[in-house]
């Protein structure tokens, strides 16, 4: 199904949806554009790629797994334990193709023969993505090098492309078609061609894709070469900006909080660049330095994950980790350094 919607109508469509459902959309606040829960009255900001990916929709930064309440009744002490499975539908409006596609990296991990993560699966199955294709790829963008493109609809339900006066909308899934049935969407007319031209132009702007196919093996070759990793991680400050911003990073931490008579089991994003990620109870840390940790992050995305999951690179090429890195660490450069590494000995 192909439709058209004016910019004003899209804002209204989003606002109406937000009145009924949990809508996540890029909103400008405090000088920055982030995905946040849309409240009727807020405006979508499509002028910039949101700093934080729409990962929150399917894998929120916080998730209460269960709540425990203690109390006393006539009959004695009681302990009530409630599992908090996510409920309700979520709609993401204005994700970019990289962000929408990035969440697919989760599936081989959270839905296997052995393990099915009920929290993740519920969210995934109840979330729709209305994605906006990119027309101004940036210096940090490299989706084309990891098997995608600026108009990739994979993982999305609807793909929007900016055209004169509004957006050309194409439904990718049946649920997407239901969304486009809304009266605010108009006939697409000839805008399909205009959109196609825009998409092609955007792809051309990105230039030659880099070939990462040798990365998996080359990174493994460098596994024990800590000198290489120290040099690569010199400027890394070991924070978590890259992982938290990343649409494909799926690591979590589970912690129990308790205060007085209430306790809670919380799942929150974890960050492999942090010292505590692998800190063992004994005090030993197998990834004690930032070099170890950067090696793991890059290795995981470009080598270990692809090895396990049909050569799929666990990176969607959105470039957030490059753009937002306070020290300017460029994951592309690190992988390329491993690919191009020449043993001088």
């Amino acid at each position: 199904m192909e439709r058209f919607i004016t910019e004003a109508n899209l804002q209204q469509f989003a606002a109406t949806l937000a009145g009924k459902k949990h809508v996540l959309a890029p909103v400008a606040s405090g000088g920055t554009t982030c995905f946040r829960r849309l409240v009727p009255g807020m405006r979508l900001d499509f002028s910039r790629m949101a700093v934080i990916s729409p990962k929150d929709a399917t894998f929120p930064r916080n998730e209460t797994l269960l709540l425990v309440q203690r109390y006393v009744e006539e009959s004695g002490k009681k302990l009530e334990l409630k599992e908090q499975l996510p409920e309700g539908e979520c709609i993401v409006i204005g994700s970019r193709p990289c962000g929408a596609r990035g969440k697919l990296i989760f599936d081989p991990v959270y839905e296997t023969e052995a393990i099915k993560d009920p929290y993740y699966l519920r969210r995934r199955d109840n979330t729709l993505f209305i994605t906006l294709s990119c027309d101004r790829p940036e210096s940090t963008c490299f989706c084309h090098s990891v098997g995608s493109n600026p108009a990739d609809g994979t993982g999305s339900d609807v793909l929007l492309t900016a055209v004169e006066g509004g957006f050309f909308a194409r439904a990718i899934t049946p649920k997407g078609e239901e969304l486009l049935a809304d009266a605010l969407f108009e006939e697409a007319g000839t805008r399909a061609e205009e959109a196609a031209a825009k998409q092609t132009k955007a792809r051309e702007l990105m230039g030659q894709a880099h070939d990462f196919s040798s990365a998996a093996a080359k990174l493994l070759e460098r596994f024990d070469d800590m000198g290489f990793w120290q040099a690569q991680s010199n400027k890394c400050i070991s924070c978590g900006a890259c992982t938290y911003m990343c649409p494909t990073c799926y690591c979590f931490n589970i912690t129990d909080d308790e205060a007085g008579l209430v306790s809670r089991r919380l799942r929150s994003w974890d960050n492999c660049m942090s010292h505590t990620f692998t800190l063992e109870g004994s005090g030993h840390n197998p990834r004690g330095t930032k070099a170890h940790r950067l090696k793991n992050r890059v290795g995981h995305k470009f080598s270990y994950y692809p090895d396990l999951h049909a050569s799929q690179i666990a990176c969607c090429g959105c470039g957030r980790c490059i753009k937002q890195c306070p020290a300017g660490v460029d994951i592309r450069q690190v992988v390329m350094a491993a690919q191009e590494y020449v043993d001088e000995r």
């Binding site: 946040r36 829960r37 929120p60 930064r61 916080n62 209460t64 709540l67 203690r70 109390y71 006393v72 004695g76 002490k77 009681k78 409630k82 908090q84 909080d257 308790e258 205060a259 007085g260 008579l261 209430v262 306790s263 809670r264 005090g283």
Partner: protein, 660 residues
């Protein structure tokens, strides 16, 4: 954990305004509480047995008692849980008496508050861990500060008990205020005859080292191991040579030195021995009045001294001594009565203090024991005594009773009659306070046998009336104004903390109260202990006291010191700081802020700098724990986690089920 909670009724002290049963019931639902009950008197024998039985039967590994302040019974209950086989630190108290039942009457609010405090204690207890004390050796030596009768008694008892004693006295001689007294109540026995032998014992006891003209400069260390610096003022006389012959004092031409010992009732020589029974009987020069020291002219004493002990160049000397315990017996000073306009503010020479009167009565005093009034040396016939001068008076910020003035005034009235049989004494008083053994009988004798006229009322003014002074006051019993002509007026001047007590308190870490008297650990149960372990109080430095009480407290303080140092080794409080070496980044900030030098830098096996706590030196203040940004050094029993658990129990953070 398996926690037991015991809510104490304290008779009706708590149960009167707290619903103890429902606190116990609520507590049964608190985390890890498996047993919760309330009892009438938890600290009583059956109460403690109840705890012990519950520990055994319920297999408890932690106990919370909600009762009075932990400053009262925490040690009691710790011993009880220890008797039941638990570590004493697996115990917490909730103060629901002093902090709840005694300060409010609203039962509902009190009950809620009590339950909160119990929850807080439970949450803390869940994060307690067994702590085991370290033991350390003690120095078998006691420092006694102050050589008055209380200090003398404490020093002699300690020395007789086998401890080395170092006595430090600010004045030139020991003896304190008692040495200045003529007779003592209620027996009218000679003060110096009673005290003199004890002073001699101090000088002669092989276990006692005496430093007079000396003050405490600095104290560091901790119970069992104090390190003390004593400043001995220059006396300009080499006391190792001085024989106390007194030739120098006879020949000294500078005879206008103020006579401190005689309460300024006359003058003395610049080099002198303050009184015949002085201990040590050594001469010292008052540098302020010695012309040799002031102007470089004279040198008579050096010429006449048969042993050549005069040294005009002598300097202050710093003496270091290590001791295991400290007895503070710094006594009192007299209130400055010049603040009262009605007594003439010092304009009338025949208005004197009671202590000055003692010197007039004393055979060794400036008048050789004959009562002569200062103005003209005449024998007074009418003597008026005014009590409560600087006692029980809010207007001069001395609301407390000095305790023994009623008694010595009666004594002085009796002695006046003895000295001058045709004299008449009048006593203006507020109330007669004579609660000691034989005391009330004594005051009655003054009135009945010696004819002292007691007038109940305050004096409004004193004014000159010919050669006499007229004392105008109220007789509140007769309801009239009275005027009494007086040849001499004696003010029963009140007692205040010794000069320098506040500063000494800072040095010793013993807190003075608002009037400068040192605060004891507990007003009833620990009257000679202070909050600094190993530092004890004797005599009037803790509050006004008469001689027998001071002597008794001197002995009590000695008993405490002897008891403390009778142990070969002491146990240190294990609630001290501890470094988590894996978290420590070796920044050494804690070393800089520790007031006790209890943290040192070490190098670990990988060559990294780390901090290490010297457990016996650490006093457990926790300054380091706050200094350390990464929480690597934690004060045991008051860890971040324990305090945070209490905070979280009191104001639980919202546990959101869902987020934005």
């Amino acid at each position: 954990m398996r926690i037991g909670v015991f809510i104490c009724h304290c008779g009706s002290n708590i149960a009167g305004t707290v619903d103890c049963e429902s606190v116990a019931e609520l507590a049964s639902g608190f985390p890890e509480v498996v047993y919760s009950t309330d009892s009438m008197y938890t600290c009583s024998e059956p109460g403690q047995e109840g705890i012990i039985t519950a520990i055994h039967e319920q297999k408890l590994d932690g106990v919370v008692v909600a009762s009075c302040t932990p400053r009262m019974h925490e040690p009691t209950f710790r011993r009880a849980v220890e008797r039941a086989g638990l570590n004493r630190y697996m115990f917490e108290m909730a103060n629901i008496r002093e902090h709840v039942s005694w300060i409010g009457k609203d039962k509902e609010h009190n009950t809620n508050k009590a339950a909160d405090l119990v929850l807080m204690a439970v949450e803390k207890l869940r994060r307690n861990r067994p702590l085991v004390p370290k033991s350390f050796e003690t120095i078998k030596r006691v420092l006694v500060i102050g050589g008055g009768v209380a200090g003398i008694q404490a020093a002699l008892d300690c020395a007789d008990g086998g401890l080395d004693v170092v006595m430090v006295e600010r004045d030139q001689s020991i003896g304190g205020k008692m040495a200045k007294l003529d007779k003592t109540f209620p027996t009218i026995d000679c003060s110096s005859c009673v005290l003199g032998p004890k002073m001699v014992d101090i000088a002669q006891h092989e276990k006692i080292t005496l430093h007079t003209c000396a003050e405490i400069e600095a104290v560091s260390g901790y119970v069992g191991n104090f390190s003390v610096t004593i400043r001995r003022r220059a006396t300009y006389v080499d006391w190792t040579k001085c024989t106390g012959c007194g030739v120098c004092t006879e020949k000294c031409p500078s005879k206008r030195s103020p006579d401190v010992f005689n309460e300024f009732m006359g003058t003395t020589t610049a080099i002198n021995i303050p009184f015949p029974q002085a201990i040590p009987k050594k001469a010292a020069i008052n540098p302020a009045t010695c012309t040799m020291i002031q102007k470089g002219k004279c040198g008579v004493c050096a010429k006449v001294c048969p042993v050549g002990c005069i040294d005009y160049e002598q300097q202050d000397e710093l003496i270091n001594v290590d001791v295991g315990a400290i007895v503070v017996a710094t006594g009192y000073d007299l209130f400055d009565w010049h603040k009262y306009p009605q007594y003439g503010e010092g304009r009338y020479p025949d208005v004197i203090t009671s202590l000055q009167y003692e010197r007039l009565l004393s055979a060794s005093g400036p008048t050789g024991g004959h009562i002569k009034r200062p103005s003209d040396g005449k024998e007074p016939k009418n003597v008026v005594f005014i009590q409560c001068v600087g006692s029980r008076d809010r207007s001069v910020d001395r609301p407390y009773c000095s305790g023994f003035c009623c008694m010595y005034t009666a004594k002085q009235a009796i002695l006046t009659k003895d000295h001058i049989p045709d004299s008449q004494s009048y006593v203006f008083y507020m109330d007669i306070r004579a609660p000691g053994k034989g005391y009330d009988e004594f005051t009655r004798r003054a009135m009945e046998e010696y004819g002292a006229q007691y007038v109940r009322g305050r004096v409004a003014m004193i004014y000159p009336h010919g050669e006499q002074l007229m004392v105008r006051g109220a007789d509140t019993l007769a309801g009239t104004q009275v005027e009494v002509p007086a040849d001499l007026v004696v003010l029963a001047t009140g007692v205040e903390a010794a000069q320098g007590a506040v500063k000494l308190g800072e040095t010793l870490r013993v807190v003075p109260d608002q009037y400068g008297f040192f605060v004891e650990s507990h007003p009833k149960l620990k009257p000679v202990e202070t909050n600094t372990a190993g530092v004890y109080l004797a005599g009037a430095c803790q509050g006004p006291k008469d001689i027998p009480t001071s002597v008794g407290q001197g002995s009590a303080a000695a008993a405490k010191a002897l008891g403390l140092l009778s142990k070969e080794r002491l146990e240190s409080d294990p609630a001290v700081s501890k470094v988590n070496l894996s978290r420590c980044v070796g920044c050494q900030k804690c070393i800089g802020t520790c007031p006790f030098g209890a943290i040192k830098a070490i190098t670990d096996r990988q060559g990294k700098l780390k901090a290490e706590v010297i457990e016996t030196v650490c006093q457990g203040c926790g300054i380091c724990t706050v200094t350390c940004p990464q929480g690597a050094i934690q004060l045991e029993h008051f860890t971040d986690n324990q305090i945070l658990a209490e905070v979280n129990a009191l104001c639980p953070p919202k546990m959101n089920a869902s987020f934005e």
